[in-house]
Symmetry: C2
Subunit: 220 residues, 2 copies
DNA sequence: AATTAATTTTAGACAAAGCTAAAAAATTGT
DNA sequence: ACAATTTTTTAGCTTTGTCTAAAATTAATT
């Protein structure tokens, strides 16, 4: 598999992760920062290799084989992210770009040994689950703060928007991965939410609330 | 820099490491497992970027800029080798292939943090020195067993031939990196050498003796 | 010194991955 | 239902790195 093929497979996986229907050429093009015509070319190639199901004008979906390839790349990506944060002291927001490169390293032995070295982690630093060798993983029950009722409590495990600006904001407000938050109050008219943090309580805007994921500990 | 460019730079560096004259197109082609015409093409490209000095039919040498690129790749390669052996428990002979991939990962931060994580090692698992960020490194004084007189003593730090067969042989004879050997006797008529090891003394053929490097502790 | 041999370079082609512009199919709006 | 719009595909071209075959240069041999 070439690097480019792997990137396409990953993109298609992520685009069909939740709405598991077939994916549009345009959507892939946008995700991959390329042109629809290029996508068509690559999709044909992936179809030849029976990594995707493809019929002209009908969109694309991963075949079972393709899905396993995607999960193996995601496994590698997330294990490397754990390594970068746990062992090399990268901060949460720096890891993605490097992991995008590391995920393409080809060596099963390497990944097995890395997994062992890290103590067989179940989730990456963003709280996303790490598939095992066979592509099996437990879907996390993470929810956006904006989706939770007052009284909910959970561990901060991820962000939607990983722009530098947003991550700066989190840093400034002492919000970090692994922190436990409780929803104290939801303001009706603007959707802002007051949450308790280690260092007290803060009010966050609706925009922030729709970007922060919690792993739910106790929902009531 | 593309992956291929980096590989050529590295090949040229290694070919001119000891005999520091200019390198022949054919030699590069052999090293890179490619055709001389392809080498010519790439060398022109590298010359455009002033990474090498090149005049038609006159061979190639690295420019200062090219030399620094080579050393930065070698630094990365060797640091990753240390990581694989020290942290992931790879054996000495498995690391090269994986490190060849890892050396191309582009992130200065990653290498800095990896270096720190490994405790700023000076040599890789084969005993080869690791250049620092500025490309400075101390040349090791390693010699082949076949080059040493009786009575010499040193630490086994490397091999010439890293074929699976040879590495298997070493394993079987309990010869490993870091072991200290002493030259006990050199047989005139066939060049075989008797050396002391931890587990006693063994006789090795001339062929083996020309493939094992020692870092000299005491030469007399 | 001249011919042969070896090495190196050029010229022209190919596969991968991308692009632009134009054609074809599907979708939408009225 | 049919015209307009959007989406997708095709066709043809570019770049990167490679190849083969042939030409040019250098080295070797007699």
């Amino acid at each position: 598999m070439t690097l480019s093929e792997e990137d396409y497979i990953k993109a298609i996986y992520h685009l069909s992760e939740f709405n598991s229907t077939s994916v549009a050429t345009n959507a892939i093009a946008e995700q991959m920062q390329t042109k629809p015509s290029s996508v068509t070319d690559m999709v044909k190639k992936l179809s030849e290799k029976s990594l995707v199901n493809y019929k002209k004008y009908q969109g694309v979906s991963l075949s079972e084989k393709g899905r396993l390839v995607a999960l193996s790349i995601i496994r590698k990506h997330r294990l490397w992210e754990v390594f970068l944060v746990d062992k090399l002291n990268f901060s949460w927001d720096e890891v993605h770009v490097v992991a995008e490169q590391l995920e393409h390293i080809k060596s099963d032995t390497l990944i097995d040994k890395l997994d062992a070295h890290l103590g067989y982690p179940k989730v990456d630093p963003h709280g996303d689950p790490i598939p095992n060798k066979d592509g099996v993983f437990t879907k996390s029950i993470k929810k956006l703060i904006s989706e939770l009722p007052v009284g909910s409590q959970g561990v901060c495990v991820g962000v939607n928007d990983s722009s530098a600006a947003f991550l700066k904001f989190l840093d400034k407000n002492k919000i970090a991965l692994g922190d436990t938050f409780k929803i104290l109050e939801i303001e009706e008219f603007d959707g802002s939410v007051t949450i308790s943090t280690r260092s007290g309580s803060i009010r966050i805007s609706k925009q922030i609330a729709t970007n922060l994921y919690l792993d739910i500990v106790d929902e009531e």
